[in-house]
């Protein structure tokens, strides 16, 4: 019944907005959705995959994922339909404002002795949150030996490391994040290319620069990237924090922020709450730079009507802080097989190519490039723009920086 409903709905949709490319594409997608899985697979199936698929049938997978991006939400609701048609697994996205809410819930469940039938079946994480779950043995796995599409992953990417912590196959890479800035090149032809230039720019143009309030993910990443530049890429950043030299290493960062806040948006008294808000403020002309974790963010935002055609993404000349984001299954998940099926579908060439499409989300694929071109579908604008990368710091730095930021500027 669901399918009939959605098909009728899409017919209606095409009639109403003829000529809208986005919709044509999406309907095209839905129609070919059926044929996707019948294609020859690229790798040998791991043992028991048939069994897993059989057990997954009828399960509902509650996927706790950050709900702040309409593009991501829409991508997930589309793919949920495909997954249901292919595997009879219902995918429900639980849109959390911050993924730490789900971590808190998992910790509470573990403490209360809820070792099965947990509420969180699948979770979108990386970095410090992965560290928390892995260190407390709260993840199910390894996934690497169970997923057929694991073989398609691009092994040139650091898929076995999450913020310098070995994943040991307990989470599956889903996409690539790069800390980038967005500007309107008509308004600002020569954007600042380093944190030092950013400060000079802010001093010349007061009220026009800001960053999301840590511990928001983008805000914390902004702090880390700034610290890399201001500490001249101190090698200590890639090892766990040593309290002895923490103050010395971070001193230039706090000095920098003290100066930046004086001339920042709303005089540094309020901060944007998310990357999405910086994009909105850029469009409103309140900010001159937005911050995003997606090298294709500007294109996606233009396609979505959120930014003018003249918006561009760029990275500072030192490179963009880069990391992978992952999918993991909590150890007490109530639908492990269903979650495996969902992850495997999200790692299929079709799903990864749609994800990379800037008409949809624009998040770069983690699969081998050749897997993406071997299907019969026309190659669409995938916007595989990637910047030279800066490595992630050890996760302990993010925790320490967030804490210091809160003590210094959080009130």
């Amino acid at each position: 019944m669901d399918t009939i409903y959605s098909q009728n709905f899409s017919h209606m949709a095409t009639k109403i907005i003829k000529g809208n490319n986005m919709y044509k594409f999406v309907i095209h997608l839905m129609l070919i959705g059926f044929s996707v899985f019948s294609m020859p697979s690229f790798a040998q199936q791991p043992p028991h995959w048939d069994e897993i698929q059989e057990q997954a049938k009828g399960q509902t997978v509650y996927f706790y994922a950050w709900g702040g991006s309409p593009e991501v939400n829409q991508y997930l609701s589309k793919i949920a339909r495909t997954i249901y048609q292919q595997s009879q697994v219902t995918l429900k996205q639980v849109k959390v404002a911050d993924i730490s809410e789900a971590i808190q819930q998992l910790l509470a469940e573990k403490t209360a002795g809820k070792h099965e039938k947990g509420n969180v079946d699948l979770i979108w994480i990386n970095g410090k949150n992965f560290k928390t779950l892995k260190d407390n043995n709260m993840l199910y796995g390894p996934l690497s030996t169970q997923l057929p599409n694991w073989a398609l992953l691009d092994k040139n990417l650091p898929i076995e490391l999450d913020f310098a912590k070995p994943t040991q196959g307990y989470e599956a890479p889903w996409g690539i994040g790069q800390l980038v800035f967005i500007y309107d090149h008509q308004h600002l032809p020569h954007p600042p290319l380093s944190f030092a230039e950013l400060l000079t720019y802010a001093q010349q143009h007061p009220n026009k620069i800001s960053y999301p309030q840590p511990p928001e993910f983008h805000g914390s990443s902004f702090l880390k990237a700034a610290l890399i530049e201001l500490s001249h890429d101190n090698p200590a950043l890639y090892k766990p924090v040593k309290p002895a030299d923490y103050a010395t290493i971070t001193a230039p960062l706090w000095h920098y922020l003290d100066q930046l806040h004086k001339v920042a948006w709303r005089k540094g008294q309020q901060f944007p709450q998310s990357s999405a808000q910086t994009i909105q403020l850029l469009d409103d002309g309140e900010l001159d730079l937005a911050i995003a974790f997606n090298p294709n963010a500007a294109k996606t935002a233009i396609n979505n009507g959120s930014l003018p055609e003249t918006a561009r993404t760029y990275a500072f000349k030192a490179g963009a802080l880069s990391n992978l984001h992952f999918l993991a299954i909590p150890a007490n998940s109530s639908a492990k097989q269903g979650a495996l099926v969902v992850i495997n579908t999200l790692l299929s060439p079709e799903a990864q190519r749609d994800k990379a499409n800037t008409q949809i989300w624009g998040d770069p694929s983690v699969l081998l490039p050749q897997t993406l071109t071997q299907t019969s579908q026309p190659v669409l604008d995938q916007g595989f723009q990637r910047f030279p990368s800066l490595s992630e710091l050890d996760p302990s730095w993010q925790i320490a920086l967030e804490k210091s930021w809160k003590t210094r500027y959080g009130h």
Binding site: I17, P70, V94, S100, Q104, Q105, K114, N119, A276
Partner: protein, 556 residues
């Protein structure tokens, strides 16, 4: 053989038990961890450690003073708006028109209004866009009423939302007070009508409205969803701060959050007590202003009376424009500052959200229907018991959920649910809603029950109808209006609950309201607009249908 009155007694006590359990649980679940007793976290030794931690939080005092400021400021504005409107327009030819416009504003959910308010009054909002070409000032110098450091915008928005509530609550007491008679007596003694309102009617009015005013204060102190959209966030109001501590992925913060919840409760009691004392001082102790013989209005009185229509304008225009903004944004594709109207339009966003809205509607409605009908059943049991035994429901059951900060109460419930890991989230959410729906349903139903003439039943039974049959065939139909009103109020309350749904549903239960708040973190104005409109739609339909229904009854 169990007699009928025993059955009723049993039902009465089970109803009380079910409704009071969350209160008790909430209290225990907050008290124990606040004093470091939470065996789940290996805390077995009662201590003041969590309080010490709390008082060392750098944000604490600024966050608390912000909350106090917002609460006092919004309550004062609400009282000012309400009283001046009553003074100026009560029993005038505009009065029925004004009361007619109150219900839709009252029914507009807080979250929907907050979203529209940001579209209207932020530095790139519509009003600034209108003024921009005239004054040609940059946004950096615009006023800031959204997330502003002092919470002025939040206070204004709260006052606008609460004024209709207070005015609606004033209607019945004012009818009882027989205002015209008071005015006649006052003017015959040479007092201007305005002075009669200040010196005689205001003290009486306030004494009747203590509970609604306490509810307003409780709400302003503890609201989270509304604050997330409009309040400053560095630091955030205290309730939001507590909510952030609860969510922190560090269970060691739970006892601190519990201590903070208790502190918020104490704060609520202090503010309520303080205001009650101020009322006592002004009306009973330092009340020379009441009989100093001054019969004319002073300068301030005249000024306020002149700008009263302006208050009404603000109260009616801002919500109306907010809804209008929601509608415009939901169909816009590109709409850049400083354009007054969108550059391009699209149906795309409605299309993309349609399916999701569908399932959210289903969940929201089933929770609202279930919690309302259970509350209705409980209320009927309690009212019947009251009529039979002349013993009413202890007022405390009704007052606590209305006045006590939601975040603390629910936090306690959540702690206890940790001990029952296999509770079904849907039923837990319905149960949590009952806690907040029941008082409203009971209070809406009580007048009808009190007004019912028992002799109808006596006549029916004396004609040989069995009592239970008589009750269903005679009493229930006669009380239909009251029942329908209570259902509408109950559903309206349930549909807009944010924290109970989120906390007790472990995130798995998504309603229009929780989704609307989650969506605002994405800041996509088109999508926020769609969810704001949809959240406003259901209560609006309810109000419309009640209006339609009452008209039909009236015609008969």
């Amino acid at each position: 053989m169990v007699t009928r009155s025993q059955t009723l007694r049993l039902a009465y006590f089970s109803a009380i038990l079910i409704c009071s359990m969350p209160l008790l649980i909430g209290l225990i679940g907050t008290l124990a961890p606040a004093f470091s007793w939470l065996p789940i976290l290996d805390l077995h030794q009662p201590s003041l450690a969590s309080w010490r931690h709390l008082f060392h939080e750098p944000v604490l005092w600024r966050s608390i003073s912000l909350t106090i400021f917002i609460t006092l400021c919004s309550t004062a504005l609400t009282l000012l708006f309400s009283f001046t409107l009553l003074m100026r327009f009560y029993n005038s030819k505009y009065w029925s028109w004004i009361t007619g416009t109150l219900s839709p504003i009252f029914a507009l959910p807080h979250v929907a209004f907050a979203i529209g308010f940001t579209f209207l009054l932020s530095p790139s909002g519509w009003i600034f866009r209108l003024l921009h070409p005239i004054f040609n000032i940059s946004q950096a110098h615009a006023w800031i009423l959204v997330n502003d450091t002092h919470g002025l915008g939040m206070s204004l928005a709260l006052a606008i939302k609460e004024t209709p509530f207070l005015l609606l609550m004033s209607i019945a007491p004012l009818q009882q007070l027989n205002i015209n008679q008071l005015l006649t007596v006052g003017t015959s003694l040479g007092y201007q009508p305005k002075q009669v309102w200040y010196k005689i009617i205001m003290p009486l009015w306030l004494s009747y409205l203590r509970l609604p005013i306490a509810a307003i204060i409780g709400y302003s102190l503890s609201v989270v969803d509304f604050s997330l959209i409009l309040a400053p966030l560095r630091p955030a109001p205290f309730a939001v701060q507590i909510w952030q501590w609860i969510k922190e992925p560090n269970l060691a913060m739970l006892p601190v959050a519990a201590a903070a919840s208790l502190l918020l409760l104490v704060l609520a009691l202090i503010i309520l007590g303080g205001l009650r004392y101020t009322e006592y001082l002004l009306m009973k102790k330092c009340n020379t202003w009441q009989f100093n013989g001054q019969r004319q209005s002073g300068y301030w009185g005249k000024l306020i009376s002149t700008i009263t229509p302006l208050f009404y304008g603000v109260m009616i225009l801002l919500p109306l424009l907010s809804v209008f903004m929601l509608a415009l944004w939901s169909f816009s594709f590109r709409w850049r500052f400083p354009d007054i109207l969108p550059q391009s339009w699209t149906l795309k966003f409605w299309m993309s959200q349609w399916e999701n809205l569908h399932s959210l509607f289903a969940t929201s409605m089933s929770i609202a229907l279930l919690s309302t009908f259970i509350s209705l059943l409980f209320s009927i049991i309690c009212l019947e018991y009251k009529q039979k035994n002349h013993k009413g429901l202890p007022l405390i059951f009704l007052v606590i959920p209305l006045v006590v900060p939601q975040v603390g109460l629910l936090f306690g419930v959540q702690i206890i649910t940790l001990y029952f890991p296999y509770l079904d989230p849907f039923s837990t959410v319905v149960w949590g809603h009952i806690l907040f729906v029941f008082p409203y349903v009971y209070l809406s139903l009580a007048p009808a029950w009190q007004a019912f003439d028992q002799r109808y039943l006596q006549v029916a039974t004396s004609l040989g109808t069995p009592p239970l049959k008589a009750w269903f065939l005679v009493k229930l139909p006669l009380l239909k209006n009251g029942l329908i009103f209570a259902i509408i109020v109950g559903m309206g309350v349930s549909l807009t609950q944010y924290l109970p749904t989120l906390i007790l549903g472990s995130g798995r239960i998504a309603t229009i309201t929780t989704e609307a708040v989650a969506i605002t973190s994405g800041q996509d104005r088109r999508i926020m607009a769609i969810y704001g409109l949809m959240q406003a739609l259901l209560p609006f339909i309810l109000i419309l249908s009640s209006f339609h229904y009452s008209q039909r009854v009236h015609k008969r």
